[in-house]
């Protein structure tokens, strides 16, 4: 049976590109919000769901972190990393010289600022709700318009490509996570994500906690904090480390950590992303 994989929609976004790369044969279902994807996975409507978690320029997607912290029945089963490579498109037959306005998501417009100021210094820019919605906004514009969008949008909408690779920063990447009921079996090249918190604030709390990893030579890939939403100055910590939760070292570190914290949730172990050729 074909897997049903949800993703943060609409079709034509970088998230759909990530979902296609993860599961080219699956039935892909767009959802309007990150929360809706998570709820559908937890509620068994989907086999898995793909949502963005981190961009190399913008940082963490806090909606996704808060979903992982709060929602039960969700694990991280995989990660997918996509380079951000923006296309400039127009409706068929509209030449670049006649374009009077450029649509995209505000982040995409910001990521192409130098290109736009050099090539289209006088054109107004208009915000769209997503890089795919920008194509629809362009198509319904009353004046000749262009849009900045991902490659995927150029494949599914009737547009002509005016230019590509127009982002100012070529190292810009977004990391997505695949959410499912269960995480991934060990592959020998894994990562583990956890979150934890303390009820009482004591000097050395965090130090002693990450010491469980340091003394076992486990590399921490990432550390992040999110508010508990109860009181300013109280946090939930999120850590990504190398290794699988079933490996001896990581299992021992998690057991040690469990003694030191008041809440510990293992968000999942999954294969570390390897760029494909």
């Amino acid at each position: 049976m074909t897997d049903r994989i949800g993703y943060l929609g609409p079709a034509g976004t970088y998230t759909e590109q990530a979902a296609l790369l993860y599961a080219p044969e699956a039935e892909l279902v767009p959802y309007p919000t990150i929360l809706a994807v998570g709820t559908a996975v937890a509620g068994d409507e989907l086999d898995a769901g793909v949502v963005p978690i981190e961009n190399s320029l913008e940082g963490s997607v806090t909606f996704t972190l808060d979903l992982l912290i709060a929602q039960s029945g969700l694990s991280i089963r995989n990660e997918v990393v996509i380079p951000i490579h923006h296309y400039l498109v127009a409706p068929p037959g509209v030449p670049a010289e006649s374009v009077q306005v450029i649509y995209s998501h505000p982040q995409a417009l910001a990521q192409c600022r130098t290109y736009l100021e050099t090539r289209f210094p006088t054109l107004p820019r208009e915000a769209s709700l997503s890089t795919a919605a920008a194509v629809a906004d362009m198509q319904s514009s009353r004046v000749p318009a262009a849009a900045i969008c991902p490659q995927r949008a150029t494949e599914i909408y009737d547009v002509q490509v005016l230019d590509q690779g127009i982002q100012d920063n070529d190292t810009n990447q977004t990391r997505f996570v695949v959410l499912a009921h269960e995480d991934h079996d060990p592959t020998g090249h894994d990562r583990t994500s956890i979150c934890f918190s303390f009820t009482v604030d004591r000097p050395g709390n965090l130090y002693n906690s990450i010491g469980e990893f340091a003394r076992r030579d486990i590399n921490l890939v990432k550390i992040e904090s999110r508010p508990t939403k109860q009181e300013l100055g109280r946090y939930i910590f999120l850590i990504d480390c190398e290794g699988h939760r079933s490996g001896a070292d990581v299992a021992a570190a998690l057991e040690g950590l469990r003694q030191r914290v008041d809440m510990l949730k293992v968000l999942g172990s999954y294969p570390a992303w390897e760029p494909r050729q």
Copy 2:
């Protein structure tokens, strides 16, 4: 001479309320963006500038963290904490029963969701650029409208208050920082904010670094990471600790830290906020 204090505008927002609480006698100047406030302080146009840095529900304001990391000539001189207490207002003479739409910043609308669903279940909500802009949107609305705004907006705009304290969560607070060329002299009840990064990723890097604080019994108030913007998976760490950078323990911890990291920037020492009666 009166101090000139910039803030993230427009007038009537929670940031103006924080600026007024910090410097009731100063000349307050609204700026359109957080970056514009920081640039004006660094460029000597202002004596200081007030920007939000953290909300107890939403987490860090990443624009402010990135400004502190990147901009030279800026220190944190003070912090101000404001409880988020929302007002429901309408134009004079417009009764609550006749209101057909409610404007506010999307975060403020979300923070009053339960109240709105109970009291005004059928009314559409419209997004404004700020809680102060919501009042202007209400005033220019073609149908009878209401707005959700801070107390400050009720003082400077011609509105009638329909209700107040309408936020769902009474512990919601926002923390602001006062940016200036120099930080604050010691008061005996201080905090210090720093950021640092590593060129090479090694197990124990972060552990050994925060060990400089733990072994001196210095409490870490906050730890956060931001992308370096060069490569996915490389971070700049931001830490707030108790104590002043000129105190013996904190000074020794910072000196120890400097030996362990490739970049260390002391963002400033400043009095810890104490709620006023």
